[in-house]
């Protein structure tokens, strides 16, 4: 489901219709009053019904549960977390996990999209056809199915601990994840490499298979959309611009970097933001496999623990809406700057 770009926020007035004959200003005022009252009535009604439903069920309400002890474990936490931590820390852990996944996906998808988008324009027939094949293959298969494929088929085929794949000496891949050395904070700064334990590698840091599946799946799917954006962005740069660059004696790479890229960026930014936002929203699919991001931890575990459906749902909604609005605002500002500089 993709909306078109919400960032090119044209003035609403642009599409406004001229006032209709036979309708005086007065009647419009009263109509709005009436509508406003109806709206208020609806909100009050829903609120009252919910309240009485909850009361009848004996469900407690309030956000005090956020300060209770969590009592459950989360396998991946970027900040210190134990079962004794309060639920709000679990929420922070879940949010960080969501953001980590989103950042990784945005990075890989952009890289893929850029490569494939430029590939589409290649003079090499094979390269451009393969790029097209990638686009058509990944764009037309539901992303959840792709994630499932990576998780349940591809990553399940990885070897177990004993026969782990060593990509380099310290980069180990097996069916428990991708292990790599990481800074240890416990006693000063030290790099701790992964070492085999009884059940799994210990020390260092690892990306769990759930994370890898989501990362690969979301990036490949959204990369296909980004490649289209990149291609049309480059095509929007007039041919004359390339020729002018060449006539000035610039190398093609320089023309690309100094002339084409800045112009393409302007055309690319609004739709790119939409894809990024879609990708961010799609991280919630993690709830379908077992990656502990916000939907999984909050709607899955905390909801059953705390028994506060309304509050738990509200927290999740506010998180997604908040991030979306923040990004929309930032990108809107950046877009304005890029556009201004171009003129």
């Amino acid at each position: 489901m993709r909306g078109n770009s919400g960032l090119r926020r044209q003035r609403l007035a642009e599409g406004e219709t001229p006032s209709l004959p036979g309708m005086r200003k007065n009647s419009a005022f009263w109509l709005q009053c009436l509508l406003g009252l109806a709206l208020v009535a609806l909100v009050v009604l829903v609120f009252r019904t919910t309240q009485s439903n909850l009361e009848l069920l004996g469900v407690q309400s309030g956000f005090d549960f956020l300060w209770k002890k969590a009592g459950f474990s989360i396998s991946q936490h970027l900040i210190p977390y134990t079962e004794d931590s309060p639920i709000w820390v679990a929420l922070a852990v879940a949010i960080l996990n969501t953001l980590l996944l989103a950042v990784f996906c945005i990075f890989l998808a952009s890289l893929l999209g850029l490569a494939v988008g430029i590939g589409r324009l290649s003079s090499n027939w094979l390269v451009s056809r393969l790029s097209l094949a990638y686009l058509e293959l990944f764009r037309n298969i539901p992303v959840l199915l792709q994630i499932f494929f990576w998780y349940y088929v591809a990553l399940r085929a990885l070897p177990s601990l004993e026969s782990s794949i060593f990509i380099t000496d310290y980069l180990v891949l097996n069916n428990r994840g991708l292990y790599f050395p990481f800074i240890e904070f416990a006693n000063g700064f030290a790099i701790s490499p992964p070492v085999p334990g009884r059940f799994a590698y210990e020390g260092g840091f690892y990306l769990m298979p759930e994370f890898l599946a989501l990362w690969i799946g979301l990036s490949l799917y959204n990369g296909s959309y980004i490649s289209e954006i990149v291609r049309s962005g480059f095509q929007s740069v007039a041919r004359g611009q390339w020729e002018a660059g060449a006539a000035l004696g610039l190398k093609p790479a320089t023309v690309l970097r100094r002339v084409a890229l800045p112009q393409a960026l302007r055309a690319v930014l609004p739709p790119l933001t939409t894809v990024y936002m879609n990708m961010f929203k799609a991280t919630s699919l993690a709830a379908a496999i077992a990656y502990p991001e916000i939907v999984s931890v909050f709607v899955g575990t905390v909801n059953n623990l705390a028994g506060r459906p309304v509050e738990v749902m509200a927290v999740s909604l506010v998180f997604y809406a908040g991030v979306s609005f923040l990004v929309a605002w930032l990108m809107g500002r950046w877009n304005k700057r890029v556009t201004m500089r171009g003129q």
């Binding site: 009252r48 469900v59 459950f72 399940r156 428990r176 709830a287 059953n304 623990l305 028994g307």
Partner: protein, 335 residues
Amino acid sequence: MRVVPGLALCALAVLPAGGASADTLSDVLERGMLRCAVIEASPGFSSIDANGRRYGFDIDNCRTVAAAVLGDADAIEYVPINPNTAFTTLQSGGVDVFPGGATWTFLRDTSMGLDYTGAYLYAGQGFVVRRASGVSSVPDLEGATICVAQGTTNEQNLADYFRARRMKYSIVTFADVERGLNAYLADRCDAFTTEVFSLAGRIVALRNPGEHRILGDVISKEPFSGLVRQGDPRWRDIVFWAFNSRLAAEEFGLTTSNVEEMRATTEDAEIRRFLGVEGGFGRQLGLRDDWAYQIVAQVGNYGEVFARHFEPLGLERGLNALWRDGGLMIAMPYR
């Protein structure tokens, strides 16, 4: 509520007042169908055969209530739910009863807007490991990766157990038992944990059950009870006594095959009251007098139901035997 503008008040007056219905029994009777929540694909508890028919211990629980209330054990609309949304689905309605293996705990009973209808099965939380791993008891799992279903008591028990012993472990939480077990089978985890009944049922059903081992120790007690929405005491009573009737039937020696004959011939006053020959006990619950007879005739007594679904999986009665056989099951008297 404070003062609301005129129009809003009008709207409130016209529309029906809010509030969940507190009379489940008449809803069910009117509908002619019992809405029963089930968790899908749990061998022994809830399965679907090749013809799309459901069978299992949970399914027979649904049928018990339907037989008592509607006189027809098959007048059921099954509502499939996931463990991680089970409670909220129940709270929010659309389901009359959930008899599907929810552990009776203090917090769930007091804060979730739900009522428990009495324990009908006693289990404990166990672990399955690969034989090849050499793990022979739960403490051996130090440092292991363990798969578990999300939002269950199992997830919390696991945390409590390992934390109390300062043992390290990592956990992977799946939306339901099935996905968790499948992940374990695919070597995503070193162990999988859930209550032993469901665990045994699932391991027996595998193609190579011999490769796995269910550890001897359990880390919790899991008394299973039916669940209904809070706020309808009569409906809770009905579900409680419907389950109780199967135990009573076993104590009385009533079975599907002899109940018809016993109803005609028995002299025992309690059995006569139980089967609705005298005393009008059904009407006390708002049901027909033959409500318990219908349960025994259509579903069977507790022992029959247990044998039907758990014996093929190699499970013994144990704690679930009648009190007089050394178990915990006791029927409340009918007088």
